[in-house]
């Protein structure tokens, strides 16, 4: 008979023998290295914490005086004690939403084109091109928006306000479609134009996140869809888009974060007003970063503190948006495929 022979167990041994202690004695250079990199980690943490704490402390000075009215006041007269971010924050959000409205269809299209439709030969070039566009300085987009787009877009803005003016967002005060001599300047420097320019700036970022996710859609499922008789678009709708949904939302949120913090291009285009301006086609809007760029120079110490509070509010909003974005991306199925 073939049975396995088990060696006799020594019961007393198991009780008396302790697990072997594993210790590492690190050499001098290793200890130096570990100390060095730990110190740099701590230093980075210190710098970051310093920025956050300093911002908060300086902002609290203004916040404690303004109290809750900081969120509801539209005017910005910190030295008169009457200041708040209702106007600038709503302007920031409207510009960012306009930007996202244009950027998301554009970047979805480009991402799908690069990952699904483009010829394999030019795919790498297109990817590089999109990455390069993400690195184009914002001042360049600002120049283009101010000197070119502004003049071209007025016709479109006028058309939208004439035919869709009954929607409150598209109404423009002071424009009369029946009066051919009515001035076009009510359509300049608007949320709409700033939003389009910012859309061009965030589209490359959103595109590269989406493309990355789309190209990771599993080959087996793609071929399965084709085998069941799907057309290319059918395959994209049933495999690629559901797979990449997390990446699409995450990329959009990342773009939104960038759009909220965008300064110089917005600052060049808008004409700042300190009232809540829901009419996106109408001249005059504002954003938190443009407010800081506009008012930092003449600000008194208390005014600087008020600007800090506005900056802190913007930072918190971007932080929340980015945090939601990264948690969506990492929790979605699309993120799981990256750990190979």
């Amino acid at each position: 008979m073939a049975t396995t022979f088990l060696p006799p167990r020594h019961e007393d041994d198991a009780a008396s023998v302790e697990p072997r202690q594993l210790t590492t004695t690190r050499s001098q250079s290793d200890r130096l290295f570990r100390g060095g990199v730990s110190a740099s980690g701590a230093l980075v943490l210190l710098i970051m914490a310093l920025v956050g704490i300093f911002l908060t402390i300086r902002a609290l000075q203004a916040l404690s005086q303004a109290g809750f009215s900081f969120i509801t006041t539209q005017a910005w007269e910190p030295d008169g004690g009457n200041f708040g971010i209702a106007a600038v924050l709503s302007g920031t959000v409207l510009i960012a939403l306009t930007a996202i409205f244009f950027a998301v269809p554009l970047s979805t299209g480009v991402a799908l084109y690069i990952s699904e439709y483009s010829p394999r030969k030019i795919r790498q070039t297109l990817i590089s091109l999109v990455d390069l566009m993400a690195a184009v300085p914002s001042v360049v987009f600002g120049l283009w928006g101010f000197f070119f787009l502004q003049g071209q877009i007025i016709g479109l803005a006028r058309w939208i306000s004439t035919y869709f003016g009954w929607i409150p967002f598209f109404a423009v005060d002071g424009s009369d479609p029946d009066d051919p001599l009515s001035t076009a300047t009510v359509f300049t420097s608007s949320t709409f134009i700033a939003g389009i320019v910012v859309a061009l700036m965030v589209a490359p970022i959103t595109t590269s996140v989406m493309r990355e996710v789309f190209s990771q859609a599993p080959v087996g499922e793609r071929e399965g869809a084709y085998a069941l008789g799907a057309t290319k678009w059918g395959m994209i709708r049933s495999v690629v888009l559901p797979f990449g949904r997390g990446g699409m939302i995450g990329g959009t949120m990342l773009g939104l974060g960038r759009a909220l913090g965008e300064t110089i291009a917005v600052f060049m285009i808008i004409s700042p007003v300190f009232v809540f301006q829901p009419h996106i086609l109408q001249n005059g809007t504002n954003s938190v970063s443009a407010l800081i760029a506009l008012r930092y120079g003449e600000a008194t110490p208390f005014g600087t503190s008020a600007l800090m509070a506005a900056g802190l509010a913007l930072f918190i909003i971007t932080l929340v948006v980015n945090f939601i974005a990264s948690s969506i991306v990492s929790r979605s199925r699309s993120g799981a495929a990256t750990d190979g």
Partner: protein, 425 residues
Amino acid sequence: MTASIDDLDKLASVTPDRRTTLPQRTPTPPDLKPRRIGGFRRSDVLSLVGAAIAGLGFAALLFTLLPFSGWLGFLVVAYLGFVALYAVLVSLDEDFSAVKDRLAAVMIQSLAFTLLMALVFVVTFTVIRGWEALTNINFFTQDMQNAGPLDPLTSGGILHAIAGTLIMITIALSIVIPLGVACAVYMNEMPGPFARFVRTISEAMTALPSIVAGLFIYASLILILGFDKSGLAAAMAISVMMLPIIIRASDVVLRLVPGNLKEAAYALGAGQWRTVWHVTLPTARSGLMTAIILGTARGIGETSPVLLTAGFTAALNLNPTTGPMVSLPLATFEFVKSPEPTMIARGFGTAAVLMFVVLILFIIARIIGGRGPGNLSKSQQKRRAKRSREDSQRFTKRESSRVASQEALATPSSSPRSLDFGDSS
């Protein structure tokens, strides 16, 4: 089961012909070609071109008959007409899902074309508007000290802004590269709760709007500590902005270094420092370079932190610690504030130079990087193969000299002992 062979024999005797017959091949006609399953059919191309022409014609008709105007509106109307007519044309000989497929393909391709065209247009627009300024050599060799807003483009230039940008980014990089890469190494080499905390904080800081980074330096360094507005302050603001970006990108790259390479180094007895210096960092080198260069491109192009901290000057200032200093994006911004056409041309020229710098950085990043860790370029492979050959030659030489010395020891005629391990060669 028993008499199977007999049965078969009986069957065979019944069938008249016992040999296998080959089916008659129909002779292939000489002009038969294999069916194409990819590519375009003639009807695809015809319907696409036909719809495009019809769409243009439709728009032209509308714009002549009705009071429409503007090229943007014309393009939109023409495009809508094209899409509608294309759908009709395809639906003549395809079913509904094929029509949807074609429409989706057309729309996706036109969206991609739109974005790429818009981005290319932004770039060429800047270069064309700035061309007037760029063609004057003094634009690169002079500063704006002796050139007023009314002076022609033949005097004055942006040397001060170019120098300022280079000085600021050099200072910022000399802070950010060591600190950022060391922090990324820390997060990867010494994982733990504290490292996770550092990672979370630095990822959160990537959300810091650049103007807030500028405001922080402005309020702390300039207002409270009393420094001047200077190149150094601007470099600090750029560093605060770039640091989280570089840390995050380096962290991702370092995480991609294969664990078995590191384990092989440990197994050969290397310490942690040796492993990081000789294995981890060289493996991730191209990725790290890419991360740093792309971060640099972001830092160079950023206007708002510099706007708050650097001040503005028209003169060349090479000293970052005192006096205001100007960078390329800030100079662009200040130039185009002026209503004078020459100043605006200078602004566009400056923006074009800035884009050129970013492009150069980007190309360098593509040449160095773009490959995953461990993937070597042709020349790197050659170099590595050469080094390996040299090593093997050294080993054989050492081996042979050891054998020779042992033989020399073994022979009774004792010559002075010489141990040559070949290390000196």
